[in-house]
């Protein structure tokens, strides 16, 4: 309200409105502010639902879309909206990484730090020398250089990873002694190829983008926490699409904001116009307990006290018998419960009583 008053004063100053005219205008502003206030009993929850789900019928079903300047696949449209409200675990979460140093080279370097590399990516050959019972791994120098790694780095990680055999580095080759049989070699080979040598586990793709002159990375998968802790990553701006991760790493307030941003983004992409404060209310409901709760029978519904409201939703039999065994009472505070027993619902005009009997 204060903010509107300030804007009003500023406007009057700019347009040189004074005296009677200003008073008249001020009266009008106050009237509109008064008129636009919420009234007690307003069924905000229902209006919110309608405002979100009515345009949802117009949204596309297309599950994915590709960000404008090509590259990474992003969930979008109705499926994404459902995913967010469900808090569904999606391994394909996109993390947008902002960098401290803005250059293409830096972006490329950090991309190698993030994308998971396995030993299999940097070796040209693995052989088993039967006569010496030796396994020989040829390292590919070019791909090592691309990852800013040296053979010494590799041998150190290998030594930590493989304890059974002794590993030696000679020039660009790693030798494992005393590998007794071919089947042992096969096991070792598999193990080596899948060995993690660099990057964040689970990240399989990173795309370098230039938006408005800034080089950023879009990364699929991986732990948000680990990406944040990398050097050269601007941890104040880097953000992910995984709400649960944001809650764990940045806290519930951040999760609430992320929820709003995600839904807003999804709706805007579809050209759907919804006042963002409705999304804010849904986010508030999902976050009131200080923990994230999904819009489903496992989340918000589970914590409803009203038995009748829950058994009207899903898993009727289960809820009913649990209530019987625990001797639950429904105090008829909810709309549904009152509707079921045939009474006036406690919302809107139902929150007040009429003294005069008609």
């Amino acid at each position: 309200m204060e903010e509107i008053k300030q804007r009003f004063d500023k406007y009057c100053e700019e347009h040189k409105i004074t005296g009677e005219k200003k008073k008249e205008l001020e009266r009008r502003v106050e009237e509109v502010i008064k008129k636009s206030k919420f009234e007690p009993g307003e069924a905000l929850g229902i209006v919110t639902t309608q405002s979100i789900s009515e345009p949802a019928t117009q949204m596309t079903m297309r599950a994915y879309h590709f960000a404008a300047s090509a590259g990474i696949r992003m969930a979008s449209g109705l499926p994404r909206l459902i995913e967010v409200f469900d808090l569904r675990k999606n391994i394909e979460n996109i993390t947008t990484v902002y960098l401290l140093e803005n250059s293409k080279e830096n972006a490329e370097k950090i991309a190698t730090e993030i994308v998971e590399s396995k030993l299999g990516n940097v070796i040209s050959d693995i052989n088993y020398d039967i006569s010496n019972l030796q396994v020989i791994v040829d390292l590919d120098k070019n791909s090592l250089e691309k990852l800013y790694l040296t053979p010494e780095n590799i041998i150190n990680t290998v030594k930590k990873f493989v304890h059974k055999y002794k590993a030696n580095l000679v020039r660009n080759k790693i030798y494992f002694d005393n590998v007794k049989s071919y089947s042992e070699f096969r096991v070792l080979k598999q193990k080596l190829i899948n060995m993690h040598i660099k990057g964040v586990k689970g990240v399989n793709e990173a795309v370098i983008l230039n938006t408005n002159g800034e080089w950023i990375l879009q990364v699929r998968g991986g732990s948000f926490k680990k990406i944040l802790s990398l050097d050269g990553v601007d941890s104040t701006r880097t953000i992910t699409t995984d709400i649960e991760e944001i809650k764990n790493v940045l806290g519930i307030e951040a999760a609430r904001q992320a929820l709003i941003n995600e839904v807003k983004k999804t709706l805007e992409e579809q050209g759907v116009d919804v006042d963002s404060r409705y999304i804010g209310l849904v986010a508030d409901v999902m976050c009131v307990d200080g923990d994230l709760e999904a819009i489903s029978r496992y989340g918000v519904m589970k914590h409803k006290k009203s038995v009748l409201a829950r058994l009207n939703f899903e898993e009727t039999i289960k809820v009913l018998f649990n209530a019987a065994v625990l001797n639950k009472k429904d105090e008829l505070n909810t709309l549904i419960a009152n509707l079921i027993v045939g009474q006036v619902t406690p919302i809107g005009t139902g929150t007040v009583k009429l003294r005069w009997k008609l």
Binding site: S36, F38, P40, G45, T57, M61, A70, P79, R277, I336
Partner: protein
């Protein structure tokens, strides 16, 4: 009236069941040879009446008055309640096999916690506990030995009441979960129906009860004569199966009981669950009287908050009106009219007796009425009704209207209200409800009135506004250089309710439009970005289009609503639509192929752009060139925008927002562009190619759904095929989408419906927890403020 304050859930005890029961059922037969219900049979007449003309033997009431009475079956051997079996399992795990005390440490509480933390040795009697196995749905094993229901019952009886409190088992004694006596539901709950052939067809529950009684009696006989153990065991198992399926016929691991025809029976649980179950279908889905449904058609000459009601409907649906000193004359007149419109159908005397008004009785009744009587009169002009179109996706799908009785048989609605209802006139039907109490009527008038719902709460702009032809007409009227003679202006204004003196000989279109406007200042932009200036209610510059008055967009309309209220905005809109349409009738508008004409030179230019991009892609196929291809229609649109004649009807329609878009126009003139499936270019089909007309791994975009032709020029058969693929995806999309978004809505509304603005103006839920301290962060209702904001400029 008494108010229900609480609903309590608990288990039903055998003693209560016996107390409820009026008859013990012992005979599996239904009717005797004469067709009368058998005494102690499953349809014993003491359990209530379902046939007309019979009085109930228990309560003496007749059909419709008798609510029915329970019977009971004494089971010879107890059986386990199939739905409660998991709870029994937890109890068995949590308590000692010998003394029935809780095994868990004393600080552990709750049933499942105690079951999880049970000690291997009883802390009270020291008995070593054997492992309990639960074989779904109803078998229990202690070690290797199977436990009978009797044994389990004995075990559960041992559990003390203090222990039950600790286990939070509060719904009754646990042994009640073992069924020893089965309640038989009243006949009113499972009525038999008589087919046309005269045969009786029994309810599924009755069928199931027959099975239970038959097996129960057989078991009784075999126990009496002392049959072999294996036989007894088999029959108990069968009894368990029948009782289990009687309660829930969709249990895992046991086959559902079936009707003779092979259809699974609908037993107790199935009656409650799901969309067609008791809860969702009957208890939360109420049905109403005083409603009507008919096809809708448009009528531009009624108000926005009016609905045209056919006379047939008006004569059937009535409004109760209390007779007073003031209206007794009119009421008498209505009664004397009887079934002739406007008349009345019934009167209700002060003692509550209803009398039908017929031509024979009308004179008598008219004499009889005194103040205090209620006359159920025909619906009349101005009665408030609720008008609705399904699916009711938002609150604007049900709005209050004033009835207007009309000839013919369709409901008539104003064209501007099609947007909130999402209605069209290709056969759509809509519903009408007539409120029957004064409270309801007041709510309809003051809360649901269509005029009060011009602005949508979703984003704070009018959802009721001008569409299609209205925009066309108003554009032709308000564009520059429209001159009208005094006579023409008079003829135009005749259809509106504007009352002005015409003192000039010639008027411009803008001046005529200005007659409609209240005293208002407005600065806006047209869709194409031109300025619109209105000062003191006079349109000075620019023309009026979708951005000013259109549904879901109109900012001018929004401003009028904000400053002068919904009724004034509605009046403005009504006048505007009438004026616009009558002007359009004098100023023909048509569309033809010529409106999609470009000069040969420009046509070539488009072709050149298209083929260039294709060549670029072929030369170097990459994400970038593919993206360029996908954005080709936009490039073509630029050329079309530049070169298409300003007078092209298609262009005008698109630019003022009356119909279509420039993208579609350029798809007709120029090039359709990349057809997509699942957001990607088409790659599916044969191995390495989409159609056998192409080579494998071809790079030409035409092989992957790129359509280089426009609809006007015509597309090749292959292009047509790709176009159809894309079109079909759209169709299946919408089919899937409605289901998905419907479920999302259901979940959202179930989670959020109790959230309301409390009396202290905080947002609270049903547990009285505060969700928001100030509603919507700044206490501005988007339903009451333009775009959900208060802008000082808007108020000038």
């Amino acid at each position: 009236m008494h108010k229900i304050s609480e609903v309590e859930f608990s288990l039903l005890s055998p003693a209560q069941i016996r107390k409820l029961s009026v008859v013990e059922i012992t005979r599996p037969e239904l009717y005797d040879a004469d067709g009368y219900p058998v005494e102690h049979g499953i349809v014993d007449s003491r359990m209530g009446v379902v046939d007309p003309g019979v009085t109930c033997r228990t309560c003496g009431y007749r059909l419709g008055e008798c609510m029915g009475h329970f019977g009971h079956i004494e089971l010879v051997k107890p059986v386990i309640h199939p739905v409660l079996a998991p709870k029994i399992y937890l109890l068995l795990q949590a308590t000692c096999q010998k003394c029935g005390r809780v095994l868990a440490p004393s600080d552990v509480k709750g049933l499942s916690n105690c079951a999880k933390n049970a000690e291997k040795e009883c802390p009270f009697c020291g008995t070593k506990q054997e492992k309990i196995k639960f074989d779904k749905p109803t078998s229990f094993f202690l070690g290797k030995k199977e436990l009978s229901a009797e044994e389990i019952r004995k075990w559960l009886e041992k559990i003390t009441d203090e222990d039950l409190e600790r286990l939070k088992f509060r719904g009754g004694r646990p042994e009640w979960m073992i069924i020893t006596i089965l309640p038989v539901p009243p006949m009113t709950m499972r009525p038999s129906i008589i087919l046309e052939t005269g045969e009786r067809s029994e309810d599924d529950l009755t069928h199931k009860l027959v099975d239970i009684v038959r097996i129960n009696e057989r078991l009784k006989r075999i126990l009496e004569i002392g049959g072999p153990d294996f036989l007894i065991k088999d029959i108990i198992e069968l009894l368990q199966y029948h009782v289990s399926t009687y309660i829930n016929n969709e249990l895992a691991n046991i086959p559902p009981a079936r009707h003779r025809s092979g259809r699974p029976l609908k037993t107790l649980a199935q009656r409650l669950i799901g969309k067609e179950g008791r809860f969702r279908f009957n208890l939360t889905g109420k049905r109403v009287n005083f409603s009507a449904r008919s096809v809708i058609s448009p009528d531009n000459f009624i108000s926005i908050n009016e609905v045209g009601v056919p006379e047939v409907v008006a004569k059937t649906l009535t409004v109760p009106e209390v007779v007073t000193e003031d209206n007794i004359k009119e009421m008498k007149k209505l009664i004397l009219n009887a079934d002739k419109y406007p008349g009345a159908n019934y009167i209700v005397r002060t003692d509550g007796l209803r009398k039908r008004i017929t031509n024979e009785t009308k004179k008598m009744i008219a004499e009889e009425i005194i103040p205090g009587y209620i006359v159920e009169r025909h619906m009349q002009d101005g009665d408030w009704v609720i008008f609705n179109r399904q699916p009711s996706l938002h609150r604007m799908s049900m709005m209050g209207c004033k009835a207007r009785i009309m000839p013919d048989k369709t409901f008539r609605l104003h064209l501007c209200t099609t947007t909130p209802y999402n209605a069209d006139f290709d056969g759509d039907e809509m519903n009408l409800h007539i409120p029957q109490t004064e409270e309801a009527r007041v709510e309809v008038k003051y809360l649901m009135d269509t005029n009060k719902h011009i602005r949508t709460p979703r984003y704070g702009l009018p959802i009721i506004g001008a569409k299609h032809d209205h925009l066309m007409g108003i554009y032709f009227l308000t564009k520059d250089n429209v001159k009208l003679s005094k006579k023409e202006v008079a003829n135009l204004l005749m259809v509106t309710d504007i009352d002005v003196e015409l003192d000039k000989d010639m008027y411009t279109g803008k001046e005529v439009f200005s007659f409609l406007l209240p005293k208002i200042n407005f600065n806006g932009k047209t869709k194409t970005g031109e300025e619109v200036i209105i000062k003191d209610g006079i349109l000075l510059k620019g023309y009026i289009d979708e951005n000013s008055i259109g549904a879901e967009k109109g900012e001018l309309l929004s401003k009028i609503e904000l400053l002068y209220g919904g009724d004034e905005a509605a009046r403005f809109l009504e006048n505007l639509t009438k004026l616009s349409l009558s002007f359009l009738m004098t100023n023909a508008y048509s569309i033809s192929l010529e409106d999609y004409y470009l000069d040969l030179e420009d046509q070539k230019k488009i072709e050149k752009v298209v083929s260039e991009e294709i060549d670029n892609y072929i030369k170097m196929p990459s994400d970038e060139t593919q993206l360029k291809l996908e954005q080709l229609p936009k490039e073509v649109e630029k050329i079309v925008k530049l070169k298409l004649s300003k007078n092209s009807s298609a262009r005008i329609a698109a630019e003022i927002g009356a119909r279509g878009s420039l993208i579609s126009v350029s798809q007709i003139i120029g090039c359709i562009g990349q057809e997509k499936l699942k957001g990607k270019k088409i790659t599916r089909g044969y191995y390495g190619r989409t159609l056998p007309h192409f080579k494998r791994k071809e790079i030409n975009p035409a092989a992957y759904g790129f359509v280089k032709n426009g609809y006007k020029k015509g597309i090749s058969p292959i292009e047509f095929f790709f176009d159809a693929m894309h079109g079909r995806e759209g169709l299946s999309d919408t089919a899937l989408k409605t289901r998905q978004s419907g479920y999302l809505e259901r979940r959202l509304v179930n989670c959020l419906h109790d959230i309301k603005v409390a009396k202290d103006l905080t947002v609270r839920d049903e547990k009285n927890r505060i969700i928001q301290f100030t509603p919507f962060e700044n206490n501005i209702n988007p339903y009451r403020a333009s775009k959900g904001r208060i802008e000082v400029e808007d108020l000038l």
